[in-house]
C-alpha cells in the first residue's frame, strides 16, 4: 500500500488521542466529564494504550487492518461514553455529550477510511523457477511461441498474436469469471529474456518477464519467471482466493512444471487420475486411477 494521506492522518490523530490520557489520566477524565476516580484513570490509561497501538500500526504499515482496529475502538468508546451519559451525576454532563459527538464524528471518518482502503487493489509479485535439460535458445523458442502457453498454463484459455505485434489473452479467474487483456512485448532478447505487460483497459493489470540462463556444468537451462499483477479485492480477496486453492505462487510453480514436461517430453503428462493434464490441481478428489469411459475422454482430454 503506497503512502496514503488519510491513513497517515488517522495515525497522527491516534497518537494525539493516545498521549493525553496516558500522561494525565485524571485531567483527561475531567475533560470529558466523567471524573478522575481510580477506575476512571485506569480506563483512561487503557484507552490511551489502545490509541497508541493504532498509531503505531497506521504510521508503520498503513494496513487497512489497523483502520478496522480503529473502528473497533470507536465502537468501544461509544459504548463507554453512552453508559457514562446514562449514569451521569450531572457534573460536566455537557462535556461528556461533546466527547460522544466527537467520537461519533471520528467513527464516520474511520469507517469511510477502512472501507475504501480495504477495497484497494494490491500489487503482487510471484516468481517461480525450473531447470530444463535443453539449450537456452530452444527453451526460449518454445515460450516465445505465445500460442503455446495455454497448453501448460492452467488458467490461460487462449493467446492470440495480432498483426500489430500485440497479443490478446483470455484467462479464467477465481469464482468462474473470465478476464481478458491485450499485451505487448517490451523486451525480447532471443535465448535470454522476454518481458511483457498488459496495455490499456486490462481487467487485471499485469506484467512479467522470463529469463533463460545456462545452468552450471551443462545441466541445461534455468528458467526464471516473474509475474506482477494487480489483484482486485486487496488482501481479503487474496486470502479468499487462496482458500479456494488459487494460490498464485503454487499456480505458477505448477505451470512451470508442465512447461518443463512440454519442453523435455513434448506434451503435458496425463494419468487416469489427472486426465485433464493442466487441470490436475483442480481435480481433487481426482478421477479414480482406472480407465475413463469414452464420454469422459472426450470431455476431459479434448478440452
Amino acid at each position: 500500500m503506497a503512502d496514503d494521506k488519510l491513513t497517515r492522518g488517522l495515525g497522527w490523530l491516534s497518537l494525539g488521542l493516545g498521549i493525553s490520557p496516558l500522561l494525565a489520566p485524571g485531567q483527561f477524565g475531567k475533560a470529558i466529564g466523567v471524573g478522575d476516580a481510580p477506575r476512571h484513570r485506569a480506563t483512561a490509561v487503557a484507552v490511551g494504550g489502545q490509541e497508541l497501538a493504532a498509531a503505531a500500526g497506521l504510521l508503520g504499515q498503513q494496513s487497512p487492518v489497523w483502520l478496522w482496529y480503529r473502528v473497533g475502538g470507536d465502537l468501544l468508546h461509544i459504548g463507554m461514553l453512552s453508559r457514562a451519559l446514562k449514569n451521569h451525576d450531572g457534573r460536566g454532563l455537557e462535556r461528556t455529550g461533546t466527547a460522544l459527538a466527537a467520537v461519533l464524528g471520528i467513527t464516520g471518518v474511520d469507517v469511510y477510511a477502512a472501507v475504501t482502503r480495504s477495497r484497494r487493489k494490491v500489487e503482487m509479485d510471484t516468481t517461480a523457477t525450473t531447470t530444463v535439460t535443453r539449450p537456452a535458445r530452444e527453451v526460449y523458442d518454445i515460450w516465445r511461441e505465445l500460442e503455446n502457453l495455454p497448453s501448460f498454463m492452467a488458467h490461460l484459455d487462449e493467446v492470440r498474436t495480432n498483426a500489430n505485434g500485440r497479443s490478446h489473452w483470455r484467462a479464467s479467474a477465481p469464482f468462474g469469471r473470465t478476464v481478458e487483456w491485450d499485451a505487448e512485448i517490451t523486451e525480447d532478447v532471443p535465448g535470454e529474456r522476454i518481458a511483457w505487460r498488459s496495455v490499456g483497459g486490462a481487467d487485471i493489470d499485469n506484467e512479467g518477464h522470463i529469463r533463460f540462463e545456462p545452468a552450471p556444468g551443462g545441466r541445461g537451462t534455468e528458467v526464471h519467471v516473474t509475474l506482477r499483477y494487480t489483484m482486485p479485492g486487496g488482501k481479503l480477496g487474496q486470502a479468499v482466493a487462496r482458500y479456494f486453492g488459487e494460490d498464485p505462487h503454487q499456480q505458477l510453480d505448477d505451470d512451470l512444471r508442465r512447461f518443463k514436461q512440454v519442453a523435455e517430453t513434448g506434451e503435458v503428462v496425463r494419468s487416469e487420475g489427472a486426465p485433464g493434464g493442466k487441470r490436475a490441481r483442480q481435480e481433487f478428489p481426482q478421477h479414480p486411477a482406472q480407465p475413463l469411459t469414452r464420454g469422459e475422454i472426450s470431455q476431459e482430454v479434448q478440452s
Binding site: T265, E267, V269, E272, G273, P288, Q290
Partner: protein
C-alpha cells in the same frame, strides 16, 4: 475389462471397469499375461499411504503383449505383438534424473508432483497403481494397462523364457538387486538382510551374486526363514533370538559389514511394549512409519559400514538413532528402485541361470481371486511368499 480395485482400507474387489485408452501420444496398451501382488501393495491396502481413492486399480508388477502403440512411439522401439515387462516407476527418459539413471525420481511423469513435493520436498516419478501421490496411474492387476512413455520404459523379452522367470524384473528383482548393489560388496563382506519376503530373498540372491562371503536373513516367519535357508543363507528368527547378539556371534563381534532393510514402514518388533508404543504413535498420527528394521540395522552395522534401505517408508519416523549413525561413520543409501537401470543386466543373469526368480512363487491365482491373494499374503497364511495373478 476386469481389474482389482481398492475400495476402502483393507478391502479390494475385482470389478468391471472401462478398457484403457490412449491419453498421451507415447502411450501403449498392454494385454496383461501375468501380474503380481507386491509387499508395498499392502501399505496401500491398509491405508498407510495417503491419497488412495475408491476405484483405484492396484498393481505395479506386470507384463504382457503390446496390443496398441501411440503415434509418438517409433516402430523401431515398440510394435504391436511385442512381449514386454513393464517397470513400476514411469520414466520420461529426458529429464536430469532420467539422464542420471535415477528413473524413480523422474521429474516429469507425476501429474500430481505439486502434491508429492509437499510430502517429500521434491517430487518423485509416477508409479502404476500406487496412489494419487505418485500420479494416479491405473495399475496392472487388470486385463489391460496403459503404459506411458512406451518408447522408454518396457523391456522387450525376445527369448522364450516363461512369464514367471521374467515377471519380477518389473520391480522386486531389481529392487532386491539395488539393495545389494548399493552395499558396494567386496570380498569377505557379511551382508545381513532384514525381511525375508520376496524383495529380501532377491536382495540375498543378489548379495551372493555380487560376491558376499556370508548372507544372513532376519525374519520371524518360519516359512520365510526356511526358504532363505534352502537357498543357502544363515537365518535369525527375531522373535526367538536377540538379533544384535546373534549378529555379533555370526561375525566374530564385528557386526555385519553391510545391512539391507527390506522391511520398511510396517515392521513388527519382538517386544510387545515397543510395538505398542509405535502403534500408538501411529494411531495418533505422531509418527507414520514404524522403523524397527532400520533402527536395528543401524545399531548392528559395523563401524564404517553401509546401511541400504529398499523397504518402503512413507512419512516420518521417531527415535532415529542419529548418534549411532553419525559417531560410527555409517553410510545410508536409499531409493525406490531405478528399475530401468537394472532390467537388462538382470535379464542376462536369468538367461545364464545365475538367478532363479521363480523360487519365491508360492501361489498362482486367477485375477478374480486377487482379494484372497491379498488376504493370505497380508496375514502370512498358507506359507504365502509371493502371489502371481493370471488375468
Amino acid at each position: 475389462m476386469k481389474a482389482n480395485c481398492w475400495i476402502r482400507p483393507n478391502h479390494v474387489e475385482v470389478r468391471d471397469v472401462p478398457d484403457p485408452a490412449m491419453l498421451n501420444s507415447r502411450d501403449a496398451i498392454v494385454k496383461i499375461t501375468s501380474t503380481a501382488i507386491c509387499g508395498s501393495d499392502l501399505h496401500l491396502l491398509d491405508g498407510y499411504v495417503p491419497t488412495m481413492q475408491k476405484g483405484d486399480i492396484m498393481g505395479h508388477e506386470f507384463m504382457g503383449e503390446v496390443v496398441e502403440v501411440g503415434k509418438g512411439v517409433s516402430r523401431d522401439q515398440l510394435r504391436v505383438g511385442d512381449r514386454v515387462v513393464v517397470p513400476f516407476p514411469i520414466a520420461c527418459g529426458a529429464c536430469a534424473a532420467c539422464q542420471a539413471e535415477l528413473y524413480s525420481c523422474c521429474e516429469n511423469t507425476n501429474p500430481n508432483a505439486g502434491l508429492a513435493e509437499k510430502f517429500f520436498g521434491h517430487p518423485v516419478a509416477g508409479i502404476f497403481g500406487y496412489s494419487h501421490l505418485t500420479g494416479g496411474f491405473a495399475g496392472g492387476q487388470a486385463q489391460y494397462a496403459r503404459v506411458p512413455f512406451a518408447d522408454v520404459n518396457p523391456l522387450k523379452i525376445e527369448s522364450d523364457l516363461r512369464d514367471e522367470q521374467v515377471l519380477f524384473l518389473s520391480d522386486i528383482l531389481p529392487t532386491g538387486y539395488m539393495g545389494a548393489d548399493m552395499c558396494d560388496i567386496t570380498a569377505g563382506d557379511v551382508v545381513a538382510v532384514w525381511g525375508a519376503g520376496p524383495v529380501g530373498q532377491f536382495a540375498m540372491d543378489s548379495a551372493q551374486v555380487l560376491g558376499a562371503e556370508k548372507v544372513i536373513a532376519i525374519d520371524k516367519e518360519p516359512y520365510r526363514l526356511e526358504m532363505a535357508a534352502r537357498a543357502g543363507y544363515l537365518t535369525i528368527d527375531f522373535e526367538q533370538t536377540d538379533v544384535r547378539s546373534a549378529l555379533l556371534e555370526l561375525t566374530g563381534g564385528r557386526g555385519p559389514d553391510k545391512c539391507i532393510d527390506a522391511v520398511g514402514l510396517e515392521a513388527t518388533h519382538g517386544s510387545m511394549p515397543i510395538m505398542a508404543y509405535d502403534r500408538a504413535k501411529q494411531a495418533t498420527r505422531m509418527e507414520s512409519d514404524r522403523p524397527y528394521a532400520l533402527r536395528q540395522a543401524i545399531m548392528s552395522c559395523r563401524s564404517g559400514g553401509i546401511v541400504s534401505v529398499i523397504g518402503v517408508y512413507g512419512g516420518l519416523v521417531d527415535k532415529f538413532p542419529a548418534g549411532a549413525f553419525m559417531n560410527r561413520a555409517l553410510t545410508l543409501r536409499t531409493g525406490q528402485c531405478h528399475v530401468q537401470r537394472y532390467m537388462k543386466p538382470l535379464l542376462e543373469h536369468i538367461e545364464r541361470g545365475e538367478i532363479d526368480p521363480t523360487r519365491i512363487i508360492t501361489h498362482t491365482l486367477p485375477l478374480e481371486q486377487a482379494p484372497h491373494g491379498y488376504d493370505i499374503f497380508k496375514h502370512k497364511q498358507d506359507g504365502c511368499e509371493k502371489v502371481v495373478l493370471k488375468p
